[in-house]
C-alpha cells in the first residue's frame, strides 16, 4: 500500500498561485504553511502581507490576514500583537519592502523585541514592479534601475539585513536560509520553525531571511536562477543563524 508522504499543507488553499514559473515565493509559502500546521496554530495565527509579488499571499494561506502598505508590515504586526498578545503574528516581506522603504519599521520592531516572526524574502530585486534594484541587489548585478550593473560608487553596497538586525538586543532569533535546493529548503524550514517557536515562547523578535530566486527579473531560467543563488548570492549572504535566544547560540555564517 502506498502512503501519501508529501502533499499540500492543510493551511494552504488549493488554488494555483500568481507567481512566475520557478519563483521562490511558492516554496517559502509552503514552508510557512507546513510550520503553521506542524505547530497547530492556524486558528491563532495572523499574517501581514507586504506590498510586493507576495501581496496576494492571503489568497494562499488560510489564516486571518492584513495586507500592509509597502514596508509597514512590522508596524501593523506590532499594532495587532499588542492588542492580542496570544496570537502568533508573522509578517512576510520582500527586500524592497523590508530592506528599503521599511527599514525603520523592521529595525525598531526588532529593537523593541516585538514578539513577531518575520519572513524576509531576499530575491535581490523588486519583483512586482518589474525588476528594479533592491538594497540587496549584489554588486555588478544588472536590474532595470541599475542598467550598468550595480557599482558601489553609484549605487552603493548591498545591505546584509540579518547581520545588521543581529546587532539589536531585542532580536532573539535571526537566521538566513535559501530555497534554491532541497537541502537548503529543509534547513530553511527548521529555521522558520525555530523562529515561530521563539515567538510562541515569548523570547522576542524573530526573523528568517530567505534567499529566493526571481527567474523573471533576473532574466534566467529557473534552473539558472537556483544556480545563481548558490554562486552569487550565498557568497555575499552567508547562510546560518546569526542570533539565537540566550543559551541556544550557534555560530554565525557558514553553510
Amino acid at each position: 500500500m502506498m502512503q501519501k508522504v508529501f502533499t499540500r499543507p492543510k493551511s494552504m488553499f488549493p488554488v494555483p498561485t500568481h507567481y512566475c514559473p520557478g519563483c521562490g515565493h511558492g516554496i517559502i509559502h509552503r514552508l510557512l504553511a507546513e510550520v503553521i500546521d506542524e505547530l497547530g496554530i492556524i486558528e491563532r495565527t495572523v499574517g501581514v502581507a507586504p506590498v510586493g509579488c507576495s501581496v496576494l499571499i492571503y489568497n494562499y494561506i488560510n489564516c486571518d490576514m492584513y495586507e500592509a502598505a509597502h514596508g509597514r508590515a512590522p508596524a501593523i504586526a506590532t499594532g495587532c500583537k499588542r492588542v492580542h498578545p496570544n496570537l502568533v503574528v508573522f509578517t512576510y516581506q520582500g527586500d524592497g519592502d523590508l530592506a528599503s522603504i521599511g527599514t525603520a519599521e523592521i529595525v525598531h520592531a526588532a529593537a523593541r523585541g516585538e514578539k513577531i516572526t518575520v519572513l524576509f524574502v531576499n530575491n535581490a530585486v523588486y519583483g512586482m514592479t518589474g525588476g528594479q534594484m533592491a538594497p540587496t541587489t549584489i554588486l555588478g548585478q544588472k536590474t532595470t534601475t541599475s542598467p550598468y550593473g550595480r557599482a558601489p560608487a553609484r549605487e552603493g553596497y548591498p545591505v546584509r539585513i540579518a547581520e545588521m538586525l543581529a546587532t539589536l538586543d531585542g532580536a532573539a532569533y535571526i537566521a538566513r536560509a535559501a530555497v534554491n535546493n532541497p537541502k537548503n529548503i529543509i534547513r530553511a524550514k527548521k529555521m522558520l520553525r525555530k523562529a515561530f517557536e521563539t515567538q510562541i515562547k515569548g523570547l522576542g523578535f524573530s526573523l528568517v531571511e530567505f534567499l529566493s530566486q526571481c527567474p523573471t527579473n533576473w532574466g534566467m531560467s529557473p534552473a539558472e536562477a537556483v544556480k545563481w543563488v548558490e554562486e552569487k548570492m550565498i557568497p555575499y549572504y552567508p547562510l546560518g543563524e546569526f542570533k539565537t535566544p540566550k543559551g541556544e547560540k550557534e555560530t554565525a555564517g557558514g553553510v
Binding site: 500568481h18 512566475c20 509579488c53 512586482m128
Partner: protein
Amino acid sequence: MGFYEDLIIAGFGGQGILFIGKLLAYAAMKEGRNVTWIPSYGPEMRGGTANCTVVVSDEEIGSPVITNPHSLIVMNNPSLEAFEPRLKTGGLLVVNTSLVTLQPKRDDITIVHVPANKIAIELGNDRAANMVMLGAYLARTKLVAEESILDALEKVLGKGKEELFEVNKAAFEKGTEIGRV
C-alpha cells in the same frame, strides 16, 4: 472624416501581444498618421492576461480607450470571452485557433481563424505566433503597408538579430497569406 481604425489585441502575458501592437503603432506613425497605444495587464509578471489598444487616425485622436473596437486579435480563451461581446457590429475578429478552443458566438462580425502557434512551430519558433496573427490582421485591414511592419520589426529588433528577424518575417508573411484567403 479621415482615416480611422482601432483594435484590441489580447492574450496571455508573454505572447508578444504588446509587441505587435507597438509594431503596428510604429508603422502607422511612420506612415504619417496619429497613433495611440495603450497596454493593460494584470498583477502577474509572467502568465496572466495582457492586452493593448491601438488607435490609428488621420485626425487628432480623442479617446485612446475604446469601448467597441473595430477589430480584435485574440490569442487565448479568456480574451475571447472578455472582448468578443465588445466588438463593433461588422467588425473583424482574428482568432488564434491553436490556443483558443472556444467558439466565437457572434454572427455579425467577420472572423479569421489562424492556427498561429501551429504555423509558428512549423517555422521553427513557437514565439512568432504573434507575428502570424499580425500578418493575418493586416492582410484584411491593410491598416499599414506590409513593408512598414517589416521596417518597424527591423528597427525594433536592432542589429545582430537577423535570424530572429527572418523567423518573424516568415511568420508575418505566412499570416498575411492566411489573412488574404
